[in-house]
Amino acid sequence: MDSLRLVIVTGKGGVGRSAVAAALALRSVRAGRRTLAISMTESGGLGEHLGVETLGPNPHEIRSGLSALQVERPAALDEYLRLQVGIPKFARLGPLASAFDALASAAPGIREIVTMGKVLYEVRRGDTWDLVVADGPPIGQIGSHLRAPRTVSDLVPTGRIRDQAAWMADILADPARSALVLVTLAEELPALETAEAMIWLQNSKLITTKGVITNRVLEPLGVPVSTGPSKGAVHEAALLHHGLVEEQTKWLKQTPDGPRLPYLFGATGPAEVAERLADLLESL
């Protein structure tokens, strides 16, 4: 991933998207890259996985080489209008921001382009970050986000917003600079949704999918359940583990090749989870 400037992480809700995004950011910092972690949703868990309680709308240094922020719509919208669309400083933003809000409830791509715009703006500030890791929207919303620059171009035949959309689409589509990472589980719904998303992503050519990470994979016990006691907690835990492995094996067959992260037993908190996943990703 050395030349990459942007990694967007997505996946179905509850698969550990934020934990993996945090782990990828930690791995990048450990490799000596100046890294920015961005939460693209306001209710995400990226902050706690990075060991901070809250994230603000501006890059905040968490530790040497690692900064983080959370895209907040009002702040991102102001910044989008000022820095990207080029609304002069003296102009009052209020009315324009309201126009945007009105549009965002009906017109496609407007809401998403503000969020994507913040992420891509940070990527374009070439001298500041070596890598931006974005904890992206859930997989069901990733399409509308990736498509946003194109959607807006189609909707708005002329104007400054259209010009902005062009460079955004370029960065996303450049395989040397941008990649998407999917996180999934070896379970029915995530597996099916990931397979569907893979096809769509491949056809859309909006961004290169770098890999699919399967999270919380259990190792087979290696001995039959019957070698232990025939009842009690040992027996029940072995049965559960065995049954879960069997179920996972079924879905792993339908999961694209890629890194597999183990189920982390006894992790005490989100920050520990991310550190442990980063260790594992380093060794893969």
């Binding site: 809700g13 509850g14 698969v15 550990g16 934020s18 209710s43 868990g45 706690e48 209008l81 669309v85 102009a91 009052r92 009315p95 324009l96 309201s98 126009a99 945007f100 809000d101 009105a102 549009l103 409830s105 009906a106 017109a107 496609p108 809401r111 859930p138 909707l155 708005v156 035949p157 002329t158 104007g159 400054r160 917003i161 259209r162 029915e188 719904l189 099916l192 016990l221 290696g222 001995v223 359940v225 070698t227 232990g228 006691p229 009690g232 907690a233 040992v234 029940e236 835990a237 072995a238 559960l240 583990h241 049954g243 879960l244 069997e246 179920e247 037993f265 006894g266 992790a267 989100p270």
Partner: protein, 341 residues
């Protein structure tokens, strides 16, 4: 009166399965039951007998009194427009590019469409119990705020802003050129986008009175319903569950209980492995018991913090795919008896 049971929670925690299990149990106890589900996994849909269905309830072939239907939101949104607008306007609405987008994109629109369907079923008089597997869109809480947000969208708050005053009677009064802020917005957005959106919003505005009445009725249903919050003991779903307890009382009833799915037995936390246990299996218990301990701690914290009743559903390797397995899940759960089935 029809009793509504709303099953909420983050995506992926087993909400759909639990709603199905509750519906099966309700039907078994002699209630005419409708299971409304959003997006069931194929095998569960088959078990409920809704594999090939749309919005119309279909009887389950194996269990009398159990019916199933899908909440097909994208389709329902068309029905919403046709119900609340004049035929001519409705036609213009459903064929508008912005309407397609609003339907797919305005976060509350799918939820609102689903909520209208729910209300229709609750008012039909055909059911004793309607179990609703709430749509997971953007956290699930949107299902409950959707009536208010939809009222807002069609109620002309946006149009009032765009037109800069009380709602004009005729769309011809709408002039971008007359307002500096709009001129700037229009310059930035290019072309006539703002105008086209405004046209769309004008059409939508005509549905306001009708939508308002319906939204108020839906909100009454929400307040009278029993609400369950489903979660697992993992951080992301727990954050969602917290949000339901914090925010639901503002728009609906307070959740009656929180259901922890994928629960491990409490006794695993202290059960020792017998001396002659193979080391691999003893180690396996040790790891799972550390999970059981973590889960118990989360359940305890949640119950204390929100002063709520907790139910648990045991962790099963395979999700149930038959009526029998769904009923079994209800039986093996602890604490669901407060529902009274």
């Amino acid at each position: 009166m029809t009793r509504a049971i709303l099953v909420t929670g983050a995506g992926g925690v087993g909400k759909t399965t639990l709603s199905a299990a509750i519906a099966v149990r309700a039907a078994r106890s002699g209630k005419r039951t409708l299971a409304l589900t959003v997006d069931p996994a194929r095998r569960l849909a088959d078990a409920l007998g809704v594999g090939t269905l749309g919005a119309v309830p279909t009887a389950n072939a194996q269990l009398e009194l159990l019916w199933g239907a899908m909440l097909d939101a994208e389709h329902s949104w068309d029905a919403v427009a046709r119900r609340h607008a004049d035929p001519e306007v409705a036609e213009r609405l459903v064929s508008s590019e912005f309407f397609r987008v609003a339907a797919r994109h305005f976060p509350a629109s799918q939820s609102y469409a689903a909520a209208e369907r729910m209300a229709d079923h609750l008012e039909s008089g055909e059911w004793d119990v309607v179990v609703v597997d709430t749509p997971p869109a953007a956290g699930g809480i949107e299902f409950f705020t959707a009536p208010a947000e939809t009222r807002d969208l069609v109620g002309g708050r946006l149009i009032r802003w765009i037109t800069g005053g009380p709602l004009p009677g005729r769309r011809s009064l709408f002039r971008i050129a007359g307002r500096p802020a709009l001129r700037m917005a229009s310059a930035v957005l290019g072309s006539d986008l703002l105008e086209r959106v405004a046209e769309f919003l004008f059409d939508l505005r005509t549905t306001h009175d009708s939508v308002s009445r319906r939204a108020a009725a839906i909100e009454r249903h929400f307040r009278q319903a029993s609400t369950l919050v489903v979660t697992t003991a993992d951080p992301a779903p727990l954050r969602e569950a917290e949000r339901f307890f914090r925010e639901l009382p503002k728009v609906a009833s307070r959740p009656e209980l929180v259901v922890f799915n994928r629960s491990l037995p409490d006794f695993w936390t202290t059960a020792p492995a017998p001396a002659d246990t193979p080391p691999v299996l003893a180690e396996n218990l040790r790891r799972w018991s550390s999970e059981a301990t973590r889960q118990a701690a989360h359940r305890g914290e949640f119950a204390a913090h929100h002063k709520t009743v907790v139910a648990t559903v045991p962790w099963q390797p395979e999700s149930p795919t038959s009526l029998h397995a769904l009923d079994e899940l209800f039986t093996r759960a602890e604490g669901l008896d407060v529902l009274g089935f």
